[in-house]
Amino acid sequence: MRNIITIWKKELKDTIRDRKTLMAMIVMPMLLMPLLIVGMGKFAEYQIKKAEEQEVKITFINKDSAPLLVNFIQKQDRIKALKIEGDVEEFVKNKKIDAGIVIPQNFEEAIQNQQPVGIEIIKNSINEKSSNALARISTAISSYNNQILQERFAQQNINPNILSNISVTTKDVATEKEQGGFGLGFLLPLFIVMWSIVGGQYTAIDISAGEKERKTLEALLLTPAKRMDIVFGKFLAVASAALVSVVVALSSIYAVISIFGFSPTGQENIRIDFSIEPQALILLFIVSVLLVLVFSAAILSIAIYAKSFKEAQSYIGPSYLVVIMPIVLINIMPGFKPSLEFFLIPAVNAVLLFKEILISTYDVSHILVTIISLIFYSLIALFIATKIYSKEEVLFKD
């Protein structure tokens, strides 16, 4: 036991003295998280704003057949009508203009005679500005339509309200907290999983493959410390580093959201009610710790197998994908309802559970299966790490 603590303390001290590991463990999560969250929101906001403010270029064909309509559309904001010479379809295709409005010859006549009349809009669906133009033209035309109808009703002394008999308003039963949780439900679990790997990765490599590379491993094995104690001490050091990372990342996210708010889509700034209940927070923490334990033991096993820092990195790199892919898949599957078996898959189970906790849904069977399976996996991973640590060919492969 004393040896475990000695090794644990030494490895942490060594980690703290290393700028590279310190970067990965503390600085990166501290800076990257705010940057990602704020940056993503701001970027989306900027894109939407840009699209809204952008002026679209349109043109009319047979402009003279509907002077009133043309005038009405031209008066709309951010629509610019251009005169062109040549084939309109060609122009729209080449994105020189965003939309063309084809007005039939008999337009005014039909309106006067109160007959239905159609106009054709030429658009290009692979030009985003074109859809924008279409939307703005449609809005303008429907206002124009209303205007004409109101005039007609007025002429015949009919109340114009006769048209608008059904109006729709919405009321969201999801509380702000639930909305916030839902919005964060994808990002937060992903970050926790990510930092529980990244945070411990450098420490893990440094104290296993790095120890081989620096040729300190043999001296360590020559001490009376049991192999199991060595693995355990190192494992605790990796787990501590990873946990620090996760906590730093989460605190940083919390700070950023409480200052800037959270707007993943940029459309509206959801003010998140962050008053997570204490039991949810505890649960979140327990599952995070277990997740950290699983990954720490797994990374340590991989890293001790490698004989150099570089080799270890090239093994651990692809393993990210293995962990992250299922999580992303689950998140992009529409309406995915996880059955209980999904809570047996490490990392996936934590992500699913985090999501549930964040929207205040508690399913005891999900919680239990997740916790028990994570404990089971960390024991297995630790067992494997110990086994690898007693393999001569792994320790002394040159």
């Binding site: 040896n3 620096r214 300190t216 020559l222 001490t223 009376p224």
Partner: protein, 250 residues
């Protein structure tokens, strides 16, 4: 004098290749025992097996009465090994490196401080012991490695090529350290292919060649038997004979 290292039929195979092939020898307290052999003869593997870092394929060894298979932790407590490839925690000072290993030998803090002072004095490390080990020269590293290997004051000291790559001054410090250990009644095993060093220091020598022990005797008897005047000539002669005649046995 007691035999504190007793090696019996020790064999170590890697993927079916015998790196150490049924070797037997004994080393006593108060002597320097030379384990000689060309590069790749199996000296380092034999040492690693005796020190319980590797486990034997067959045979066994006893260190201070503890069997390497039954009591590996006790064996490691009684043995100090200076390995050929030495490395340190480079972000730690020499002192911190020594402290860490001392703690793993479960030496109390106070005793450890005294021991570090003592070793620092003997090995002339006072000038650099508080500097980061990553900045050490080869000679400094070797001294620190020696200090680390004997931090727990073991009864058995095994030095594997301790003077390779060292200048004359540093070599002298290492050789003197071994003499001093002998005076303190330690059992010192020197593994080397530097015959002049061995001739100066060793009381008895064993020669390992291709994993097999081909001689185990005093230097004088060895020279006499091969009819040579120096250990180096005797060594060369016996190695060459082995090459010419695979059936040669000492």
């Amino acid at each position: 004098m007691n035999s504190v290292v007793i090696v019996k039929n020790l064999t170590k195979e890697f993927d079916g290749i015998r790196a150490v092939d049924r070797i037997n020898f004994e080393a006593k307290e108060g002597e320097i025992f030379g384990l000689l052999g060309p590069n790749g003869a199996g000296k380092t593997t034999a040492i690693r097996t005796i020190a319980t870092v590797l486990s034997p394929t067959d045979g066994t060894a006893k260190v201070c009465g503890f069997d390497i298979l039954k009591n590996p932790e006790r064996v490691r407590e009684n043995i100090g090994v200076l390995t050929t490839d030495i490395g340190f925690y480079e972000r730690f000072s020499g002192r911190e490196n020594l402290k860490y290993f001392g703690q793993l030998y479960e030496i109390s803090d106070q005793a450890l401080d005294t021991r570090i002072e003592e070793l620092s004095k003997i090995l002339e490390m006072n000038d650099f012991i508080n500097r980061k080990a990553g900045k050490y020269s080869t000679g400094m590293k070797q001294k620190l490695a020696i200090a680390r290997s004997v931090i727990h004051d073991p009864k058995v000291i095994i030095f594997d090529e301790p003077t390779s790559g060292l200048d004359v001054l540093a070599s002298q410090t290492v050789l003197n350290f071994m003499r001093k250990a002998r005076e303190l009644n330690k059992c010192v095993i020197l593994s080397t292919h530097q015959m002049p060093d061995a001739e100066k220091l060793c009381d008895r020598v064993a020669i390992i060649h291709r994993g097999k022990l081909v001689a185990d005797t005093t230097i004088e008897a060895f020279k006499k038997r091969t009819n040579t005047s120096s250990l180096e000539d005797a060594f060369l002669k016996i190695i060459k004979e082995r090459h010419l005649n695979g059936k040669f046995y000492a």
